[in-house]
Symmetry: C2
Subunit: 311 residues, 2 copies
Amino acid sequence: MKQRIFFNEVVTRDGFQIEPEFIATDAKVQLVDALSQCGYAKIEVTSFTSPKAIPMLRDAEEVMGRITRVPGVEYTVLVPNLRGAERAMESRADELNLVMSTSETHNLANLRMPREKSFAALAEVIRVVGGRTPVNVSLSTCFGCPMEGEVPQAEVLAWAQRFADLGVRGLTICDTTGMADPAQVARMCEALQQRFAGLQLTLHFHNTRDGANVLAAVQSGITRFDGSLGGLGGCPYAPGASGNISSEDAIHMLASMGHDTGIDIPRLLQVARALPAIVGHEVPGQLAKAGPSTQLHPAPASVAELRAAFS
Amino acid sequence: MKQRIFFNEVVTRDGFQIEPEFIATDAKVQLVDALSQCGYAKIEVTSFTSPKAIPMLRDAEEVMGRITRVPGVEYTVLVPNLRGAERAMESRADELNLVMSTSETHNLANLRMPREKSFAALAEVIRVVGGRTPVNVSLSTCFGCPMEGEVPQAEVLAWAQRFADLGVRGLTICDTTGMADPAQVARMCEALQQRFAGLQLTLHFHNTRDGANVLAAVQSGITRFDGSLGGLGGCPYAPGASGNISSEDAIHMLASMGHDTGIDIPRLLQVARALPAIVGHEVPGQLAKAGPSTQLHPAPASVAELRAAFS
Protein backbone atom coordinates (compact mmCIF):
# COMPACT_ATOMS: atom_id res chain seq x y z
CA MET A 1 0.00 0.00 0.00
CA LYS A 2 2.94 2.38 0.58
CA GLN A 3 3.78 4.04 -2.71
CA ARG A 4 6.37 6.32 -4.24
CA ILE A 5 4.47 9.55 -4.99
CA PHE A 6 5.79 12.13 -7.46
CA PHE A 7 4.93 15.82 -7.05
CA ASN A 8 5.03 18.51 -9.71
CA GLU A 9 5.27 21.98 -8.14
CA VAL A 10 3.34 24.55 -10.19
CA VAL A 11 3.50 27.63 -7.97
CA THR A 12 5.78 29.77 -10.17
CA ARG A 13 3.55 29.17 -13.22
CA ASP A 14 -0.02 28.34 -12.19
CA GLY A 15 0.27 30.01 -8.78
CA PHE A 16 1.95 33.23 -9.86
CA GLN A 17 -0.10 33.61 -13.05
CA ILE A 18 -3.11 35.11 -11.25
CA GLU A 19 -1.13 37.29 -8.83
CA PRO A 20 -1.93 40.96 -9.38
CA GLU A 21 1.58 42.39 -8.75
CA PHE A 22 4.57 41.46 -10.94
CA ILE A 23 6.96 39.20 -9.05
CA ALA A 24 10.61 40.04 -9.71
CA THR A 25 12.67 37.69 -11.87
CA ASP A 26 15.22 37.35 -9.05
CA ALA A 27 12.50 36.18 -6.65
CA LYS A 28 11.23 33.63 -9.19
CA VAL A 29 14.73 32.23 -9.78
CA GLN A 30 15.44 32.02 -6.07
CA LEU A 31 12.13 30.29 -5.39
CA VAL A 32 12.66 27.70 -8.14
CA ASP A 33 16.20 27.09 -6.84
CA ALA A 34 14.90 26.63 -3.29
CA LEU A 35 12.20 24.24 -4.52
CA SER A 36 14.83 22.29 -6.51
CA GLN A 37 16.46 21.36 -3.18
CA CYS A 38 13.24 19.93 -1.75
CA GLY A 39 12.98 16.69 -3.70
CA TYR A 40 10.29 17.42 -6.27
CA ALA A 41 10.05 15.11 -9.30
CA LYS A 42 9.11 18.05 -11.50
CA ILE A 43 8.77 21.83 -11.34
CA GLU A 44 6.57 23.74 -13.79
CA VAL A 45 8.80 26.80 -13.97
CA THR A 46 6.99 29.20 -16.28
CA SER A 47 4.92 29.58 -19.44
CA PHE A 48 6.19 30.45 -22.93
CA THR A 49 3.11 32.43 -23.75
CA SER A 50 2.82 35.93 -25.19
CA PRO A 51 4.19 38.55 -22.77
CA LYS A 52 1.10 40.59 -23.58
CA ALA A 53 -1.26 37.76 -22.61
CA ILE A 54 0.45 37.02 -19.29
CA PRO A 55 2.82 39.87 -18.32
CA MET A 56 3.67 38.06 -15.07
CA LEU A 57 5.56 35.40 -17.04
CA ARG A 58 7.19 37.71 -19.60
CA ASP A 59 10.60 36.73 -18.15
CA ALA A 60 10.28 33.04 -19.12
CA GLU A 61 13.61 32.87 -21.01
CA GLU A 62 15.51 34.68 -18.30
CA VAL A 63 14.11 32.50 -15.52
CA MET A 64 14.85 29.29 -17.45
CA GLY A 65 18.36 30.55 -18.20
CA ARG A 66 19.20 31.51 -14.63
CA ILE A 67 17.82 28.65 -12.53
CA THR A 68 20.28 26.08 -11.20
CA ARG A 69 19.19 22.70 -12.51
CA VAL A 70 19.37 19.86 -10.03
CA PRO A 71 19.86 16.38 -11.49
CA GLY A 72 16.74 14.25 -11.01
CA VAL A 73 14.37 17.24 -11.14
CA GLU A 74 12.53 17.82 -14.42
CA TYR A 75 11.92 21.44 -15.40
CA THR A 76 8.67 21.60 -17.34
CA VAL A 77 7.02 24.64 -18.93
CA LEU A 78 3.61 25.52 -20.26
CA VAL A 79 3.46 25.95 -24.01
CA PRO A 80 0.38 27.37 -25.76
CA ASN A 81 1.49 27.06 -29.40
CA LEU A 82 4.30 26.35 -31.88
CA ARG A 83 6.14 29.60 -31.16
CA GLY A 84 6.05 28.81 -27.44
CA ALA A 85 7.36 25.30 -28.10
CA GLU A 86 10.32 26.67 -30.06
CA ARG A 87 11.14 29.15 -27.30
CA ALA A 88 10.80 26.41 -24.66
CA MET A 89 13.16 24.05 -26.50
CA GLU A 90 15.69 26.86 -26.98
CA SER A 91 15.50 27.30 -23.19
CA ARG A 92 16.21 23.57 -22.74
CA ALA A 93 12.91 22.73 -21.05
CA ASP A 94 12.79 19.06 -20.00
CA GLU A 95 9.14 18.78 -20.93
CA LEU A 96 6.49 20.77 -22.78
CA ASN A 97 3.11 20.98 -21.10
CA LEU A 98 0.24 21.68 -23.52
CA VAL A 99 -3.22 22.60 -22.31
CA MET A 100 -6.80 22.56 -23.50
CA SER A 101 -10.23 22.15 -21.90
CA THR A 102 -12.59 19.22 -22.18
CA SER A 103 -15.46 21.73 -21.89
CA GLU A 104 -16.27 23.74 -25.03
CA THR A 105 -17.38 26.79 -23.05
CA HIS A 106 -14.31 26.81 -20.84
CA ASN A 107 -12.03 26.38 -23.86
CA LEU A 108 -13.73 29.32 -25.58
CA ALA A 109 -13.50 31.45 -22.43
CA ASN A 110 -9.93 30.52 -21.59
CA LEU A 111 -8.24 29.83 -24.96
CA ARG A 112 -10.62 31.82 -27.17
CA MET A 113 -11.18 29.02 -29.66
CA PRO A 114 -13.28 25.85 -29.98
CA ARG A 115 -11.80 22.61 -28.67
CA GLU A 116 -11.25 21.24 -32.19
CA LYS A 117 -9.13 24.27 -33.09
CA SER A 118 -7.11 23.81 -29.90
CA PHE A 119 -6.64 20.13 -30.62
CA ALA A 120 -5.46 20.79 -34.17
CA ALA A 121 -2.99 23.43 -32.98
CA LEU A 122 -1.61 21.22 -30.22
CA ALA A 123 -1.39 18.22 -32.55
CA GLU A 124 0.73 20.37 -34.88
CA VAL A 125 3.01 21.30 -31.94
CA ILE A 126 3.43 17.62 -31.06
CA ARG A 127 4.20 16.79 -34.70
CA VAL A 128 6.82 19.55 -35.04
CA VAL A 129 8.45 18.74 -31.68
CA GLY A 130 8.74 15.21 -33.07
CA GLY A 131 9.87 13.60 -29.82
CA ARG A 132 12.87 15.91 -29.30
CA THR A 133 11.33 16.90 -25.94
CA PRO A 134 8.70 14.87 -24.05
CA VAL A 135 5.18 16.29 -24.17
CA ASN A 136 2.56 16.30 -21.44
CA VAL A 137 -1.03 17.41 -22.07
CA SER A 138 -3.09 18.99 -19.30
CA LEU A 139 -6.83 18.62 -19.82
CA SER A 140 -8.87 21.24 -17.96
CA THR A 141 -12.33 20.92 -16.36
CA CYS A 142 -12.24 17.10 -16.36
CA PHE A 143 -14.44 16.91 -13.27
CA GLY A 144 -16.91 19.61 -14.28
CA CYS A 145 -17.03 23.03 -15.92
CA PRO A 146 -18.07 26.01 -13.79
CA MET A 147 -20.12 27.30 -16.74
CA GLU A 148 -21.41 24.10 -18.43
CA GLY A 149 -21.61 21.82 -15.42
CA GLU A 150 -21.01 18.11 -15.89
CA VAL A 151 -18.30 16.96 -18.28
CA PRO A 152 -18.98 13.28 -19.00
CA GLN A 153 -16.12 10.96 -18.11
CA ALA A 154 -16.39 9.38 -21.57
CA GLU A 155 -15.65 12.76 -23.13
CA VAL A 156 -12.56 13.24 -20.97
CA LEU A 157 -11.34 9.78 -21.92
CA ALA A 158 -11.96 10.48 -25.61
CA TRP A 159 -9.83 13.65 -25.55
CA ALA A 160 -7.15 11.82 -23.59
CA GLN A 161 -7.21 9.04 -26.20
CA ARG A 162 -6.68 11.48 -29.05
CA PHE A 163 -3.54 12.83 -27.38
CA ALA A 164 -2.34 9.36 -26.39
CA ASP A 165 -2.64 8.40 -30.07
CA LEU A 166 -0.25 11.27 -30.90
CA GLY A 167 2.43 9.76 -28.65
CA VAL A 168 2.45 12.13 -25.68
CA ARG A 169 4.36 10.95 -22.62
CA GLY A 170 1.85 12.06 -20.03
CA LEU A 171 -1.60 13.39 -19.30
CA THR A 172 -2.63 15.68 -16.47
CA ILE A 173 -6.29 15.42 -15.55
CA CYS A 174 -7.32 18.73 -13.99
CA ASP A 175 -10.10 19.66 -11.62
CA THR A 176 -9.68 23.26 -12.74
CA THR A 177 -12.12 24.87 -10.32
CA GLY A 178 -12.47 22.31 -7.55
CA MET A 179 -15.67 20.52 -8.54
CA ALA A 180 -14.53 16.92 -8.10
CA ASP A 181 -15.72 14.69 -5.30
CA PRO A 182 -13.73 11.67 -4.09
CA ALA A 183 -16.14 9.08 -5.54
CA GLN A 184 -15.90 10.71 -8.97
CA VAL A 185 -12.11 10.87 -8.61
CA ALA A 186 -11.95 7.15 -7.85
CA ARG A 187 -14.06 6.30 -10.94
CA MET A 188 -11.95 8.56 -13.18
CA CYS A 189 -8.62 7.27 -11.89
CA GLU A 190 -9.61 3.66 -12.38
CA ALA A 191 -10.75 4.31 -15.94
CA LEU A 192 -7.59 6.28 -16.78
CA GLN A 193 -5.24 3.61 -15.48
CA GLN A 194 -7.05 0.84 -17.34
CA ARG A 195 -6.90 2.72 -20.61
CA PHE A 196 -3.58 4.61 -20.41
CA ALA A 197 -1.40 2.29 -18.35
CA GLY A 198 1.71 3.25 -20.34
CA LEU A 199 1.43 7.01 -19.76
CA GLN A 200 2.51 9.24 -16.88
CA LEU A 201 -0.85 10.08 -15.33
CA THR A 202 -0.94 13.17 -13.11
CA LEU A 203 -3.91 14.51 -11.17
CA HIS A 204 -4.37 18.24 -10.58
CA PHE A 205 -6.80 19.22 -7.82
CA HIS A 206 -8.05 22.41 -6.31
CA ASN A 207 -8.50 23.13 -2.67
CA THR A 208 -12.26 22.84 -2.23
CA ARG A 209 -12.05 19.21 -1.18
CA ASP A 210 -8.23 19.00 -1.33
CA GLY A 211 -6.85 16.15 0.73
CA ALA A 212 -9.87 13.92 0.17
CA ASN A 213 -9.47 13.93 -3.62
CA VAL A 214 -5.74 13.26 -3.34
CA LEU A 215 -6.49 10.37 -0.98
CA ALA A 216 -9.11 8.93 -3.34
CA ALA A 217 -6.66 9.14 -6.26
CA VAL A 218 -3.83 7.46 -4.31
CA GLN A 219 -6.21 4.73 -3.18
CA SER A 220 -6.98 4.19 -6.87
CA GLY A 221 -3.27 3.79 -7.67
CA ILE A 222 -2.39 7.28 -8.95
CA THR A 223 1.13 8.35 -7.98
CA ARG A 224 1.60 11.75 -9.67
CA PHE A 225 0.12 15.07 -8.52
CA ASP A 226 0.34 18.73 -9.26
CA GLY A 227 0.49 20.96 -6.22
CA SER A 228 1.04 24.68 -5.71
CA LEU A 229 3.13 25.96 -2.82
CA GLY A 230 0.90 27.69 -0.27
CA GLY A 231 -2.17 26.76 -2.32
CA LEU A 232 -1.66 29.70 -4.70
CA GLY A 233 -3.62 29.86 -7.93
CA GLY A 234 -7.22 29.74 -9.06
CA CYS A 235 -9.47 30.10 -12.07
CA PRO A 236 -11.21 33.34 -13.03
CA TYR A 237 -14.30 31.52 -14.30
CA ALA A 238 -15.31 30.22 -10.88
CA PRO A 239 -15.41 33.28 -8.62
CA GLY A 240 -14.90 32.45 -4.93
CA ALA A 241 -13.55 28.98 -5.65
CA SER A 242 -10.38 28.17 -3.79
CA GLY A 243 -6.99 27.79 -5.46
CA ASN A 244 -4.76 24.83 -6.18
CA ILE A 245 -4.12 22.27 -3.50
CA SER A 246 -1.27 23.29 -1.26
CA SER A 247 1.77 21.14 -2.14
CA GLU A 248 3.07 21.08 1.41
CA ASP A 249 -0.30 20.10 2.91
CA ALA A 250 -0.82 17.23 0.46
CA ILE A 251 2.79 16.03 0.72
CA HIS A 252 2.70 16.06 4.52
CA MET A 253 -0.55 14.10 4.53
CA LEU A 254 0.83 11.41 2.22
CA ALA A 255 4.15 11.24 4.10
CA SER A 256 2.26 10.88 7.40
CA MET A 257 0.45 7.90 5.89
CA GLY A 258 3.82 6.28 5.16
CA HIS A 259 4.08 7.06 1.44
CA ASP A 260 7.48 8.05 0.04
CA THR A 261 7.10 11.50 -1.50
CA GLY A 262 10.84 12.07 -1.90
CA ILE A 263 10.34 15.50 -0.31
CA ASP A 264 12.41 17.04 2.48
CA ILE A 265 9.42 18.41 4.39
CA PRO A 266 11.25 20.69 6.88
CA ARG A 267 13.09 22.26 3.95
CA LEU A 268 9.86 22.61 1.98
CA LEU A 269 8.20 24.31 4.96
CA GLN A 270 11.03 26.83 5.09
CA VAL A 271 10.37 27.68 1.45
CA ALA A 272 6.60 27.80 2.03
CA ARG A 273 7.05 30.19 4.94
CA ALA A 274 8.93 32.62 2.70
CA LEU A 275 6.09 32.70 0.16
CA PRO A 276 3.82 35.35 1.76
CA ALA A 277 6.72 37.84 1.61
CA ILE A 278 7.24 37.06 -2.09
CA VAL A 279 3.61 37.55 -3.12
CA GLY A 280 2.83 40.23 -0.56
CA HIS A 281 -0.16 38.52 1.08
CA GLU A 282 -1.16 35.57 3.23
CA VAL A 283 -1.52 32.21 1.46
CA PRO A 284 -4.11 29.48 2.13
CA GLY A 285 -1.78 26.54 2.96
CA GLN A 286 -2.32 25.21 6.50
CA LEU A 287 0.89 23.31 7.23
CA ALA A 288 3.25 26.27 7.12
CA LYS A 289 1.16 27.82 9.89
CA ALA A 290 0.60 24.70 11.98
CA GLY A 291 3.93 22.92 11.43
CA PRO A 292 4.17 19.19 10.77
CA SER A 293 2.26 16.85 13.08
CA THR A 294 5.59 15.61 14.44
CA GLN A 295 6.49 19.08 15.74
CA LEU A 296 5.47 19.24 19.40
CA HIS A 297 4.68 22.28 21.51
CA PRO A 298 5.71 23.08 25.09
CA ALA A 299 3.10 22.47 27.76
CA PRO A 300 2.02 25.53 29.75
CA ALA A 301 3.98 26.03 32.99
CA SER A 302 0.88 25.16 35.02
CA VAL A 303 1.13 21.54 33.86
CA ALA A 304 4.36 20.91 35.81
CA GLU A 305 2.82 22.45 38.91
CA LEU A 306 -0.36 20.40 38.57
CA ARG A 307 1.65 17.24 37.93
CA ALA A 308 3.59 17.85 41.15
CA ALA A 309 0.45 18.74 43.09
CA PHE A 310 -1.33 15.54 42.09
CA SER A 311 1.65 13.20 42.42
CA MET B 1 -21.58 2.13 -0.28
CA LYS B 2 -24.01 5.07 0.02
CA GLN B 3 -24.65 5.72 3.68
CA ARG B 4 -26.83 7.84 5.94
CA ILE B 5 -24.39 10.25 7.61
CA PHE B 6 -25.28 12.12 10.82
CA PHE B 7 -23.74 15.51 11.56
CA ASN B 8 -23.42 17.19 14.94
CA GLU B 9 -22.98 20.96 14.54
CA VAL B 10 -20.66 22.34 17.24
CA VAL B 11 -20.18 25.95 16.12
CA THR B 12 -22.08 27.67 18.94
CA ARG B 13 -20.10 25.73 21.59
CA ASP B 14 -16.71 24.61 20.23
CA GLY B 15 -16.56 27.30 17.56
CA PHE B 16 -17.68 30.27 19.65
CA GLN B 17 -15.69 29.23 22.73
CA ILE B 18 -12.40 30.62 21.41
CA GLU B 19 -13.86 33.78 19.86
CA PRO B 20 -12.41 36.89 21.53
CA GLU B 21 -15.56 39.06 21.50
CA PHE B 22 -18.76 38.07 23.34
CA ILE B 23 -21.47 37.02 20.90
CA ALA B 24 -24.90 38.27 21.90
CA THR B 25 -27.43 35.79 23.26
CA ASP B 26 -29.91 36.84 20.56
CA ALA B 27 -27.38 36.00 17.84
CA LYS B 28 -26.68 32.59 19.40
CA VAL B 29 -30.40 31.75 19.63
CA GLN B 30 -31.01 32.87 16.05
CA LEU B 31 -28.06 30.84 14.77
CA VAL B 32 -29.16 27.66 16.57
CA ASP B 33 -32.70 28.18 15.25
CA ALA B 34 -31.39 28.62 11.70
CA LEU B 35 -29.23 25.50 12.02
CA SER B 36 -32.23 23.57 13.37
CA GLN B 37 -33.90 24.07 9.98
CA CYS B 38 -30.96 22.56 8.06
CA GLY B 39 -31.36 18.89 8.88
CA TYR B 40 -28.67 18.25 11.49
CA ALA B 41 -28.96 15.11 13.61
CA LYS B 42 -27.57 16.97 16.60
CA ILE B 43 -26.53 20.48 17.63
CA GLU B 44 -24.10 21.07 20.50
CA VAL B 45 -25.73 24.27 21.70
CA THR B 46 -23.57 25.44 24.60
CA SER B 47 -21.58 24.40 27.66
CA PHE B 48 -22.78 24.36 31.27
CA THR B 49 -19.42 25.35 32.61
CA SER B 50 -18.54 28.10 35.07
CA PRO B 51 -19.31 31.57 33.64
CA LYS B 52 -15.90 32.62 34.96
CA ALA B 53 -14.06 29.84 33.07
CA ILE B 54 -15.81 30.54 29.74
CA PRO B 55 -17.57 33.92 29.79
CA MET B 56 -18.64 33.44 26.16
CA LEU B 57 -21.06 30.70 27.25
CA ARG B 58 -22.32 32.36 30.45
CA ASP B 59 -25.78 32.53 28.86
CA ALA B 60 -26.19 28.74 28.60
CA GLU B 61 -29.54 28.59 30.45
CA GLU B 62 -30.98 31.50 28.50
CA VAL B 63 -29.92 30.07 25.12
CA MET B 64 -31.32 26.63 25.95
CA GLY B 65 -34.55 28.22 27.17
CA ARG B 66 -35.07 30.40 24.12
CA ILE B 67 -34.18 28.14 21.17
CA THR B 68 -37.03 26.63 19.17
CA ARG B 69 -36.61 22.87 19.32
CA VAL B 70 -37.25 21.05 16.07
CA PRO B 71 -38.43 17.44 16.36
CA GLY B 72 -35.75 15.04 15.15
CA VAL B 73 -32.87 17.31 16.15
CA GLU B 74 -31.06 16.47 19.39
CA TYR B 75 -29.83 19.43 21.45
CA THR B 76 -26.68 18.35 23.25
CA VAL B 77 -24.54 20.36 25.67
CA LEU B 78 -21.06 20.12 27.11
CA VAL B 79 -20.97 19.31 30.80
CA PRO B 80 -17.74 19.49 32.83
CA ASN B 81 -19.01 18.27 36.22
CA LEU B 82 -21.98 17.35 38.41
CA ARG B 83 -23.16 20.95 38.82
CA GLY B 84 -23.08 21.36 35.02
CA ALA B 85 -25.05 18.13 34.59
CA GLU B 86 -27.75 19.35 36.96
CA ARG B 87 -28.01 22.69 35.16
CA ALA B 88 -28.11 20.89 31.77
CA MET B 89 -30.91 18.57 32.86
CA GLU B 90 -32.89 21.50 34.27
CA SER B 91 -32.50 23.07 30.81
CA ARG B 92 -33.89 19.88 29.21
CA ALA B 93 -30.75 19.01 27.24
CA ASP B 94 -31.30 15.92 25.09
CA GLU B 95 -27.77 14.69 25.76
CA LEU B 96 -24.88 15.46 28.08
CA ASN B 97 -21.45 15.53 26.45
CA LEU B 98 -18.59 14.89 28.88
CA VAL B 99 -14.98 15.47 27.92
CA MET B 100 -11.49 14.38 28.96
CA SER B 101 -8.16 13.87 27.20
CA THR B 102 -6.40 10.61 26.47
CA SER B 103 -3.09 12.50 26.90
CA GLU B 104 -2.03 13.22 30.50
CA THR B 105 -0.29 16.47 29.55
CA HIS B 106 -3.25 17.76 27.54
CA ASN B 107 -5.66 16.84 30.34
CA LEU B 108 -3.50 18.71 32.86
CA ALA B 109 -3.22 21.73 30.55
CA ASN B 110 -6.88 21.79 29.58
CA LEU B 111 -8.76 20.42 32.59
CA ARG B 112 -6.14 21.12 35.27
CA MET B 113 -6.20 17.63 36.73
CA PRO B 114 -4.74 14.17 35.94
CA ARG B 115 -6.75 11.85 33.73
CA GLU B 116 -7.66 9.55 36.65
CA LYS B 117 -9.21 12.50 38.53
CA SER B 118 -11.18 13.47 35.41
CA PHE B 119 -12.35 9.90 34.94
CA ALA B 120 -13.48 9.61 38.57
CA ALA B 121 -15.39 12.92 38.35
CA LEU B 122 -17.08 11.99 35.06
CA ALA B 123 -17.92 8.49 36.32
CA GLU B 124 -19.68 10.16 39.26
CA VAL B 125 -21.63 12.39 36.84
CA ILE B 126 -22.72 9.32 34.86
CA ARG B 127 -23.75 7.54 38.08
CA VAL B 128 -25.82 10.49 39.34
CA VAL B 129 -27.46 11.10 35.95
CA GLY B 130 -28.47 7.46 36.16
CA GLY B 131 -29.75 7.19 32.61
CA ARG B 132 -32.24 10.07 32.92
CA THR B 133 -30.43 11.76 30.00
CA PRO B 134 -28.18 9.96 27.47
CA VAL B 135 -24.45 10.59 27.94
CA ASN B 136 -21.78 10.97 25.28
CA VAL B 137 -18.08 11.13 26.13
CA SER B 138 -15.67 13.09 23.94
CA LEU B 139 -12.09 11.87 24.21
CA SER B 140 -9.54 14.53 23.22
CA THR B 141 -6.14 14.08 21.49
CA CYS B 142 -6.95 10.54 20.30
CA PHE B 143 -4.71 10.93 17.23
CA GLY B 144 -1.81 12.66 18.98
CA CYS B 145 -1.11 15.31 21.60
CA PRO B 146 0.52 18.57 20.49
CA MET B 147 2.70 18.45 23.63
CA GLU B 148 3.31 14.70 24.20
CA GLY B 149 3.19 13.49 20.61
CA GLU B 150 1.86 10.01 19.89
CA VAL B 151 -1.10 8.69 21.89
CA PRO B 152 -1.14 4.90 21.38
CA GLN B 153 -4.35 3.57 19.89
CA ALA B 154 -4.48 0.94 22.65
CA GLU B 155 -4.64 3.73 25.23
CA VAL B 156 -7.51 5.44 23.42
CA LEU B 157 -9.39 2.15 23.25
CA ALA B 158 -8.75 1.51 26.97
CA TRP B 159 -10.25 4.88 27.98
CA ALA B 160 -13.16 4.30 25.61
CA GLN B 161 -13.72 0.89 27.19
CA ARG B 162 -13.87 2.34 30.71
CA PHE B 163 -16.65 4.72 29.64
CA ALA B 164 -18.45 2.03 27.64
CA ASP B 165 -18.46 -0.08 30.82
CA LEU B 166 -20.29 2.77 32.59
CA GLY B 167 -23.11 2.58 30.05
CA VAL B 168 -22.59 5.75 27.97
CA ARG B 169 -24.60 5.97 24.77
CA GLY B 170 -21.85 7.35 22.58
CA LEU B 171 -18.18 8.16 22.21
CA THR B 172 -16.65 11.00 20.21
CA ILE B 173 -13.08 10.36 19.15
CA CYS B 174 -11.41 13.75 18.70
CA ASP B 175 -8.40 14.85 16.68
CA THR B 176 -8.20 17.91 18.89
CA THR B 177 -5.42 19.71 17.04
CA GLY B 178 -5.46 18.15 13.59
CA MET B 179 -2.67 15.57 13.85
CA ALA B 180 -4.46 12.58 12.32
CA ASP B 181 -3.62 11.16 8.93
CA PRO B 182 -6.09 9.11 6.89
CA ALA B 183 -4.26 5.80 7.37
CA GLN B 184 -4.29 6.27 11.15
CA VAL B 185 -7.98 7.23 10.96
CA ALA B 186 -8.80 4.04 9.08
CA ARG B 187 -6.99 1.89 11.67
CA MET B 188 -8.71 3.66 14.58
CA CYS B 189 -12.19 3.50 13.04
CA GLU B 190 -11.91 -0.21 12.32
CA ALA B 191 -10.79 -0.94 15.88
CA LEU B 192 -13.55 1.23 17.38
CA GLN B 193 -16.29 -0.40 15.39
CA GLN B 194 -15.10 -3.90 16.22
CA ARG B 195 -15.00 -3.17 19.91
CA PHE B 196 -17.90 -0.73 20.42
CA ALA B 197 -20.43 -1.84 17.81
CA GLY B 198 -23.36 -0.99 20.09
CA LEU B 199 -22.38 2.65 20.72
CA GLN B 200 -22.91 5.84 18.72
CA LEU B 201 -19.40 6.48 17.42
CA THR B 202 -18.66 10.04 16.28
CA LEU B 203 -15.43 11.35 14.78
CA HIS B 204 -14.27 14.92 15.40
CA PHE B 205 -11.60 16.24 13.02
CA HIS B 206 -9.73 19.46 12.58
CA ASN B 207 -9.05 21.19 9.34
CA THR B 208 -5.41 20.37 8.70
CA ARG B 209 -6.27 17.36 6.55
CA ASP B 210 -10.03 17.77 6.80
CA GLY B 211 -11.86 16.10 3.96
CA ALA B 212 -9.33 13.28 3.68
CA ASN B 213 -9.85 12.16 7.28
CA VAL B 214 -13.62 12.32 6.91
CA LEU B 215 -13.33 10.24 3.73
CA ALA B 216 -11.11 7.65 5.43
CA ALA B 217 -13.57 7.39 8.33
CA VAL B 218 -16.60 6.98 6.04
CA GLN B 219 -14.73 4.34 4.04
CA SER B 220 -14.20 2.53 7.35
CA GLY B 221 -17.93 2.59 8.07
CA ILE B 222 -18.20 5.59 10.42
CA THR B 223 -21.44 7.56 9.96
CA ARG B 224 -21.30 10.29 12.65
CA PHE B 225 -19.20 13.44 12.57
CA ASP B 226 -18.77 16.66 14.43
CA GLY B 227 -18.39 19.73 12.26
CA SER B 228 -18.24 23.45 12.98
CA LEU B 229 -19.95 25.94 10.70
CA GLY B 230 -17.35 27.93 8.77
CA GLY B 231 -14.57 25.84 10.32
CA LEU B 232 -14.60 27.92 13.52
CA GLY B 233 -12.73 26.70 16.57
CA GLY B 234 -9.26 25.53 17.49
CA CYS B 235 -7.09 24.51 20.41
CA PRO B 236 -4.83 26.92 22.29
CA TYR B 237 -2.15 24.26 22.83
CA ALA B 238 -1.29 23.92 19.14
CA PRO B 239 -0.56 27.46 17.97
CA GLY B 240 -1.06 27.94 14.24
CA ALA B 241 -3.08 24.76 13.85
CA SER B 242 -6.29 25.20 11.94
CA GLY B 243 -9.74 24.91 13.51
CA ASN B 244 -12.51 22.37 13.30
CA ILE B 245 -13.53 20.95 9.97
CA SER B 246 -16.07 23.13 8.25
CA SER B 247 -19.47 21.43 8.49
CA GLU B 248 -20.65 22.74 5.15
CA ASP B 249 -17.48 21.67 3.30
CA ALA B 250 -17.58 18.13 4.71
CA ILE B 251 -21.34 17.77 4.19
CA HIS B 252 -21.13 18.98 0.60
CA MET B 253 -18.30 16.56 -0.13
CA LEU B 254 -20.24 13.59 1.25
CA ALA B 255 -23.47 14.64 -0.47
CA SER B 256 -21.57 14.99 -3.78
CA MET B 257 -20.40 11.41 -3.34
CA GLY B 258 -24.01 10.31 -3.06
CA HIS B 259 -24.25 9.90 0.70
CA ASP B 260 -27.45 11.00 2.45
CA THR B 261 -26.50 13.67 4.98
CA GLY B 262 -30.06 14.76 5.66
CA ILE B 263 -28.89 18.35 5.22
CA ASP B 264 -30.54 21.05 3.11
CA ILE B 265 -27.29 22.38 1.64
CA PRO B 266 -28.59 25.62 0.06
CA ARG B 267 -30.20 26.51 3.39
CA LEU B 268 -27.01 25.60 5.27
CA LEU B 269 -24.97 27.82 2.95
CA GLN B 270 -27.29 30.74 3.70
CA VAL B 271 -26.59 30.25 7.39
CA ALA B 272 -22.84 29.85 6.77
CA ARG B 273 -22.75 33.07 4.78
CA ALA B 274 -24.22 34.97 7.73
CA LEU B 275 -21.50 33.72 10.08
CA PRO B 276 -18.74 36.27 9.34
CA ALA B 277 -21.12 39.07 10.36
CA ILE B 278 -21.89 37.27 13.64
CA VAL B 279 -18.26 36.71 14.66
CA GLY B 280 -16.91 39.88 13.07
CA HIS B 281 -14.25 38.25 10.88
CA GLU B 282 -13.75 36.00 7.86
CA VAL B 283 -14.08 32.24 8.49
CA PRO B 284 -12.02 29.44 6.91
CA GLY B 285 -14.82 27.40 5.27
CA GLN B 286 -14.43 27.18 1.47
CA LEU B 287 -17.91 26.24 0.28
CA ALA B 288 -19.69 29.40 1.38
CA LYS B 289 -17.27 31.33 -0.81
CA ALA B 290 -17.23 28.97 -3.79
CA GLY B 291 -20.84 27.78 -3.74
CA PRO B 292 -21.81 24.15 -4.30
CA SER B 293 -20.29 22.37 -7.27
CA THR B 294 -23.74 22.28 -8.88
CA GLN B 295 -23.94 26.08 -8.94
CA LEU B 296 -22.83 27.22 -12.39
CA HIS B 297 -21.41 30.57 -13.43
CA PRO B 298 -22.17 32.64 -16.54
CA ALA B 299 -19.62 32.43 -19.34
CA PRO B 300 -17.94 35.70 -20.28
CA ALA B 301 -19.67 37.58 -23.13
CA SER B 302 -16.75 36.82 -25.44
CA VAL B 303 -17.71 33.14 -25.47
CA ALA B 304 -20.93 33.79 -27.40
CA GLU B 305 -19.03 35.92 -29.92
CA LEU B 306 -16.33 33.30 -30.35
CA ARG B 307 -18.90 30.54 -30.67
CA ALA B 308 -20.58 32.49 -33.46
CA ALA B 309 -17.27 33.34 -35.13
CA PHE B 310 -16.18 29.71 -35.26
CA SER B 311 -19.54 28.21 -36.21
